[in-house]
Amino acid sequence: MSGARRIEEGVRRPDRVTLRLDGADLAACPGESVLAALVASGARRLRDDREGTARGAFCNMGTCSECTVWVRKGAAAWVRRRACLVPVEADLCVLTHAPEAT
């Protein structure tokens, strides 16, 4: 866990929704990026590299692709997205690893 947190002073946010992250529930604010929600929750390891070493957020501008995850909205198909470019909304599932092959 990191000491990351949401800034509360002077900030009004919409009511939280629940994000499903790797099968667990995570409260997040609609509109903030999935990456921001993950960072704010203290999550640091976003993926493993080819040696199994931890990797985390790096650029937060869509350039480095380190935060690429699988995202599913409702019953739609899983899609590959950069987490820094996906706004949190209700009914969103996120996987940091590949979904089971169907």
């Binding site: 198909a77 899609v79 092959a101």
Partner: protein, 403 residues
């Protein structure tokens, strides 16, 4: 060029797979070899192709009807030699080449395509190539990642893929160790036959112009070979073909085989690193020069419809591919001969002038280079090259004037 190489036994033009492999075979046999490459070793089609090792009769020959199919069938015997060549290549070059010969599938979607496969397999078996027809169930058992709608496939256990990014360079490295002189950034700008039958070549290199006098020249420059033969006033029926290839991001290993399609342009495989390589001969398009002619010096541009067409066939054959991300599409220029068969051997009109080109020669490259080297050293064509001798087009040079 270094002074020591101004009188080589052979000047090879082109640092692709055929040029580098020929350089190695000839240098090993004691010839003084000089190789010139206008850009970098392996910069052309040899390094840009998909790296398929395909030994079944190709779809393009089957679709040309009975006559071409019979030619193609004669290639089968050469393919059998090529299988042995690939199996020994890593030992021969003393290094890994990412060669994976875990089998290849040529799939069929319709009953008509299955019939074509059955026709092909019968022909191949008669020629000693042990392809086997798999029905839909057998195909599913062997490759569960492929679509259940496929009607079946022709299976050949020796097919697979290798890494085109390192093969030509490995030959070049070994050739250099055997004494071959390899000059990159060196362009052949002049070629003439002297009265004594020797060739005088002008090379524009990084350090200025150089002259080379040599009894033999090998043009192994893909479609450029035709232009270079033009320096001698000779015609070679080789034409540039701009193609495209695609690669996906890495994923877990699910496809150990080479996959082709009997009725569609498709080659698909998963690399050692997990990326899927998708191609199969879909055209790109040359950009235009200011004068309106196609610009052969620049990579072609992607034709959107063909990009989508290629990916659509691939995703139909392997549905799991659709979820993967396309990382990069690139274009490269291969070449094609007037009868779709490569030109390998001596040009009768110009003794000492050899050619090795014709496109799509990754699979056959290593064995063709060996046979060509044998031809050059023995002074007579290797029997296996009979089908490929450039002199089947001798009529194109009936009016050429050489000393």
């Amino acid at each position: 060029m270094t002074p020591g190489s101004s009188h080589p036994d052979i000047l090879i033009v082109g640092g692709g797979l055929l040029g580098c492999a020929s350089a190695w075979h000839l240098a090993r046999r004691g010839l003084r070899v000089a190789l010139v490459e206008q850009s970098q070793v392996n910069a052309g089609a040899s390094g840009q192709n998909a790296g398929s090792l395909h030994f079944q009769i190709e779809r393009r020959f089957l679709e040309q009807g009975e006559e071409a199919a019979s030619d193609a069938a004669r290639i089968v015997s050469l393919n059998r030699l090529a299988i042995a060549e690939w199996q020994g290549l890593e030992d021969m070059l003393g290094r890994g080449l990412d060669i994976a010969m875990h089998g290849g599938l040529m799939v069929a979607e319709t009953e008509a395509e299955m019939a074509l496969l059955a026709f092909k397999v019968a022909r191949e078996n008669a020629l000693g190539l042990p392809t086997r027809l798999l029905d839909a169930d057998e195909l599913r058992a062997r490759a569960p990642c492929l679509s259940p709608h496929l009607a079946g496939a022709a299976w050949l256990a020796e097919e697979g893929h290798a890494n085109p990014r390192i093969l030509a360079g490995a030959f070049a490295q070994q050739a250099a160790r055997e004494g071959a002189v390899i000059a990159c950034g060196a362009r052949l700008t002049g070629l003439a036959m002297q009265a004594d039958g020797q060739y005088r070549a002008t090379i524009e290199g990084l350090d200025g112009l150089g002259e080379v006098t040599t009894p033999r020249v090998l043009l192994a420059s893909g479609h450029w070979s035709a232009r270079l033969a033009g320096l001698l006033g000779l015609n070679l029926p080789l034409y540039p073909v701009p193609l495209m290839m695609n690669v996906t991001e890495r994923g877990e290993q699910v496809l150990p085989f080479l996959v082709q399609h009997v009725g569609q342009r498709l080659s698909m495989k998963q690399s050692e690193d997990g990326n899927f390589l998708i191609g199969g001969g879909w055209p790109s398009r040359f950009r235009r020069r200011a004068d309106g002619l196609p610009d052969l010096d620049r990579p072609g541009e992607i034709v959107e419809a063909n990009l989508l067409g290629n990916l659509a066939v691939a995703a139909r054959v392997m549905p799991g591919l659709a979820a993967r991300s396309l990382l990069r599409s690139w274009t490269g220029t291969t070449c094609i001969s007037a009868d779709q068969l490569p030109l390998v051997g001596e040009v009768g009109k110009a003794p000492g002038l050899f050619v090795a080109a014709g496109g799509s020669l990754f699979t056959l490259g290593p064995v063709l280079a060996r046979l060509l080297a044998q031809t050059i050293v023995d002074g007579r064509p290797a029997d296996e090259l009979a089908l490929f001798l450039p002199d089947r087009f001798a009529h194109l040079n009936a009016f050429a004037v050489l000393p």
